[in-house]
């Protein structure tokens, strides 16, 4: 059924590999051409072949086997899904959702499950040891060029030395990697077919979690990654022995930086559009990701009174951000601003605090003094919420946790047991150096104050916790807002009559990336503190929360802003 001439030896003598690909029996050239098998899956009409179990690849003489980059990523995703399942995520995610997303991706990016990709042939590239017999072509991309294409960090020096060591080995050696298509992979243009990267594995995970509406926000996911509960850094050490990693593979699979919220989120959106996914399952008000629900969680974690929840719900309702259509992801729809559930909920709380306490470094302390007086004189009927006390208690805990986190970041061990080398040439050097590192670490580890290698803390949804049972009064959940509220026309409103806008005019997000530009010095300390608190809880920069706050404020005070754009920013509610 397949009668084309082989690109390498021009014969027509085809066999099928275990993976279902055609290979030339004369010269062993493997193509991407697969036997098409019809199968239905829940998303599109794509023809998908079931993935064979296990890696029964043709063995090479060094004990390694041939493997493709996408197989590596597939393993990574599998490991991550398993970890998520261990954390309590529904098994459907691993067995169906993520799997199918991945297959769809492979198909759309023409790496598998499709007709032979246009213009691409996969040559058997040399694996670490041997050089090929392929003559060097004049238009073969230079090694340095390929190295620079990858977005993973590297040092110029190592790259250069790798590049030069390559050229010394043999003029006819093509750029190599442990995988079959490492160099080809890096050559592919980024934008064109959404080339897979390590951060994108997290985008895949998040996308699957979102599809299932699992109660894990993106910030939590990234925190679990940072705490080591979900494999990311050095995940390649779980690749099977036979999948040898070296050369350019390192550029692809070895990351030396933590993925950032924005990056993962944006890629997720791109991915959803690329895969032509339909509208995601609805985010209704009973979902964990709904702002009303997330606000409960964050209010608890921030040690704020439960009563504030009424207010967050009111704000959410007023500006319509609790609507199903607002919250649910529709891939590819460029007109609507994409919702970041966790940041949105945190921002709602910040706005509510501003509404009730003003947070101008003056009024909130005044209110606190009144509450303190009242609490001193009148112990019955429950305590009134005192901003000052809350600030002291929370700041103390925040400082302690922040310090711990900063130290963790500085003590972080990036390398793992499995040594990495670019080429066989520097293998022995790398191994020697690793041995020295291990020796030195042992020596100084013994002299350290704390014993490292203690088990990582159990994954927990809450980073700060406050118990009502504590008699020291450090839990504010049950405190009352009575002191700062008044009744007007049967409705409870805030005693605070004022509000200040974070910004009068929003920036164009598409141009400069932000709705507003946050600079700590320009805002009250109390506001900064509140941003700092949520910034720590979500592990993101305060400016992102600030952006959402601006967005919410502009929705809330829409009419007034429009009218008063010429005047100063203090509004009367």
């Amino acid at each position: 059924d397949f009668n084309e001439r082989c690109a390498q030896c021009s014969e027509v003598n085809w066999g099928l590999t275990d993976g279902g690909r055609y290979y030339c029996r004369s010269c062993h050239n493997v193509t991407e051409r697969t036997r098409e098998v019809i199968n239905t899956d829940f998303m599109t009409n794509s023809r998908v072949q079931t993935i064979s179990k296990g890696l029964r690849k043709r063995e090479k003489n060094d004990g390694g086997c041939e493997w493709y980059i996408c197989e590596g990523f597939q393993l990574v995703l599998k490991k991550q899904a398993e970890a998520l399942e261990a954390l309590g995520v529904c098994p459907l995610m691993k067995d169906e959702i993520l799997c199918n997303f991945w297959r769809c991706y492979l198909q759309k990016s023409k790496q598998a499950y499709c007709n032979r990709p246009a213009g691409e042939t996969v040559k058997t590239l040399s694996v670490c040891e041997s050089s090929t017999d392929v003559d060097s072509e004049s238009d073969r991309p230079s090694v340095l060029h390929l190295l620079s294409l990858s977005e993973s960090e590297g040092d110029l020096q190592t790259d250069c030395s790798f590049a030069s060591s390559m050229s010394k080995v043999s003029a006819s050696t093509s750029v190599y990697s442990g995988s079959v298509d490492g160099s080809l992979y890096l050559m592919k243009s980024q934008k064109e077919k959404l080339r897979m990267t390590m951060p994108m594995t997290l985008s895949f995970c998040y996308m699957a979690l979102l599809w299932l509406r699992e109660p894990i926000t993106l910030s939590e996911l990234l925190r679990f990654v940072a705490e080591g509960h979900i494999p990311y850094l050095n995940v390649f050490q779980h690749f099977p022995e036979k999948m040898k990693l070296c050369g350019l593979d390192l550029k692809i699979f070895c990351v030396e930086s933590w993925p950032v919220y924005e990056e993962v989120h944006n890629k997720m959106l791109e991915l959803a559009a690329f895969l032509d996914l339909p509208r995601f399952p609805d985010i209704t008000d009973s979902c964990f990701l709904h702002p009303d629900m997330l606000c409960i969680k964050y209010l608890m974690e921030a040690n704020l009174p439960d009563e504030l929840h009424n207010w967050t719900c009111r704000v959410v309702k007023k500006i319509g951000i609790g609507e199903v259509d607002f919250l649910t992801l529709v891939p590819g729809n460029k007109s609507t601003r994409k919702v970041k559930y966790d940041i949105l909920a945190a921002a709602v709380i910040v706005v509510v605090l501003k509404l009730l306490f003003l947070l101008d470094d003056h009024y909130e302390w005044l209110l606190s003094d009144f509450a303190e007086e009242r609490n001193k004189n009148n112990k019955e009927g429950g305590l009134y919420f005192e901003f000052k006390k809350w600030y002291e208690v929370v700041k103390h805990s925040l400082d302690v946790e922040q310090k711990k986190w900063d130290e963790e970041k500085a003590k972080y061990m990036w390398r793992c047991e499995k040594p990495l080398f670019y080429s066989v040439k520097n293998k022995s050097k790398v191994l020697k150096r690793r041995q020295m590192v291990v020796n030195l670490q042992n020596q100084f580890g013994k002299l350290s104050s704390s014993v490292r290698g203690a088990e990582k803390p159990n994954p927990s949804s809450f980073q700060l916790s406050w118990s009502e049972e504590n008699t020291d009064g450090s839990c504010f959940h049950g405190h009352s807002l009575k002191g700062i509220l008044q009744e007007k026309c049967g409705l409870l409103t805030a005693m605070n009559p004022d509000y200040w806008l974070c910004t009068v005019k929003l920036c164009n997000e598409k141009q400069c990336g932000h709705l507003a530009h946050y600079r700590e010095v320009e805002f009250p300390q109390s506001y900064h503190f509140v941003l700092r608190l949520f910034s720590f809880l979500l592990r993101i920069q305060p400016s992102y929360i600030h952006d959402e706050v601006c967005m919410i404020e502009h929705k809330l005070f829409n009419k007034k802003i429009y009218k008063k754009l010429k005047y100063n920013t203090v509004l009367r509610k």
């Binding site: 500085a410 020596q443 002299l447």
Partner: protein, 412 residues
């Protein structure tokens, strides 16, 4: 990319370094060790663009921690240093040298010597030539330790006297140490620099074996060669050598001249002034006066009886001879504004009288001449002295009274 706040390997290690620095400044060695354990990973990454690379950082930080940590031992330290020697070939000799210093500070002289010998025999392609300076230092210190052995053996011999063959082997070893030491010490002091201990030891060797010419040449070079940095000690050594050799006053004086220029407050200025005062040449005596006044400009000399007695003697002699009064005037003109408060206040008069009668005597004489009989200092001291009926003070009073007009001539 716009994700500048992304935490990456480099930032993480920078933060780690600053934690190490803080811990070290606060002498929290356990904490420093903890963070260093994380930092050590940097060895596996390439930092060749940085000025100071991680291997050098680790060497220096690790050394500090191991020096101060309560659970650390010399054995651990040595083990660590051996690793450091391997980790950076461009630094090999420097690490060896510092290791040797450390061993010497811990009294492990034999181990230090072994390390020096090992280091001396090291060869590594073109690095050998590049690290030439360190190699010279290694040889120099080896020479110093050879001198130290020589010295020990010499003392053994001197104690037991040269009797019997039993001492022959010691003597032979002593001579062999001398030869080794001499070769290396001679080499290092050729290079412009400050080599005080090496020079001293080398000169000691030469003197012992009677090669005074060579010794003199070495010391002259060390003191007078303009390529060498100005070094007061060089002149001191030369002076001491000449004195030992019984050289003439003329050469002794000439040896101290530059010392006076560089360090007017040097303790040898007393000897210098003493020699100069006695000289027959007018210029020399004039210089003597300048020297002693200059020395007493320094607070460290304020209560030095010897210095004051030198000045007093010379001033007295000038006053009595009534020649060269203008010398005193010249010296006094730049000092009359501040010496009174500096040396001759009433407070000091009381203090000096209480603590040291001789001091107050000498000072009173000088004060009386320079400031007249009515000055606070002189008045107080002479009053006290006469009250106590000490003869010399009465003589002093008479003397100053008699020569009061001199003061008037000086002071205008």
């Amino acid at each position: 990319s716009s994700y500048d706040h992304k935490l990456n390997f480099r930032k993480s290690k920078e933060a780690c370094l600053s934690y190490i620095q803080d811990a070290m400044l606060q002498k929290q060695w356990k904490r420093a060790a903890e963070f260093l354990t994380s930092y050590i990973e940097s060895l596996e990454k390439d930092y060749s663009r940085e000025h100071v690379g991680p291997s050098e950082m680790i060497w220096r930080i690790g050394t500090e921690i191991l020096c101060h940590h309560s659970h650390s031992s010399m054995k651990e330290f040595n083990c660590f240093i051996e690793q450091m020697k391997i980790s950076g070939v461009k630094r090999y000799l420097k690490v060896c040298l510092e290791h040797v210093f450390h061993l010497l500070c811990n009294g492990q002289v034999d181990e230090a010597y072994q390390n020096l010998s090992l280091a001396e025999s090291w060869r590594f392609g073109d690095q050998t030539a590049i690290q030439d300076k360190e190699m010279k230092l290694i040889q120099a210190y080896k020479g110093l330790l050879d001198y130290y052995s020589w010295s020990k053996q010499k003392n053994i011999l001197l104690e037991h006297g040269l009797d019997g063959f039993a001492d022959l082997s010691v003597e032979q070893e002593m001579h062999s140490c001398f030869r080794k030491a001499a070769v290396n010490l001679k080499e290092i002091i050729k290079i412009p620099g400050v080599w005080d201990p090496f020079v001293k030891c080398y000169v000691d060797l030469l003197e012992f074996y009677g090669d005074h010419n060579e010794a003199l040449q070495v010391l002259n070079e060390y003191a007078y060669n303009s390529r060498f940095p100005a070094n007061p000690n060089a002149h001191v050594y030369l002076y001491q050598f000449l004195k030992r050799q019984g050289e003439s006053k003329k050469s002794l004086i000439s040896a101290l001249k530059i010392l006076h220029d560089i360090v007017p407050s040097h303790e040898l200025m007393i000897d210098f002034n003493t020699m100069l005062q006695k000289s027959k040449k007018r210029k020399k005596r004039r210089l003597g006066l300048e020297v002693i006044f200059a020395a007493l400009d320094y607070a460290g000399w304020k209560e030095n009886v010897k210095a004051w007695s030198c000045l007093a003697r010379q001033v007295k002699q000038i006053v009595i001879s009534e020649k060269h009064l203008h010398w005193i005037k010249e010296e006094w003109s730049s000092r009359k504004d501040w010496w009174p408060a500096f040396h001759f206040s009433r407070y000091l008069a009381k203090r000096n009288w209480q603590k040291n009668k001789s001091l107050s005597y000498e000072k009173a004489l000088v004060a009386g001449i320079l400031l007249g009989k009515d000055c606070k200092y002189f008045k107080y001291i002479s009053h006290q002295g006469c009250k106590a009926q000490v003869k010399r003070f009465r003589m002093l009073k008479k003397f100053v009274n008699r020569h009061n007009p001199v003061f008037l001539r000086i002071s205008d």
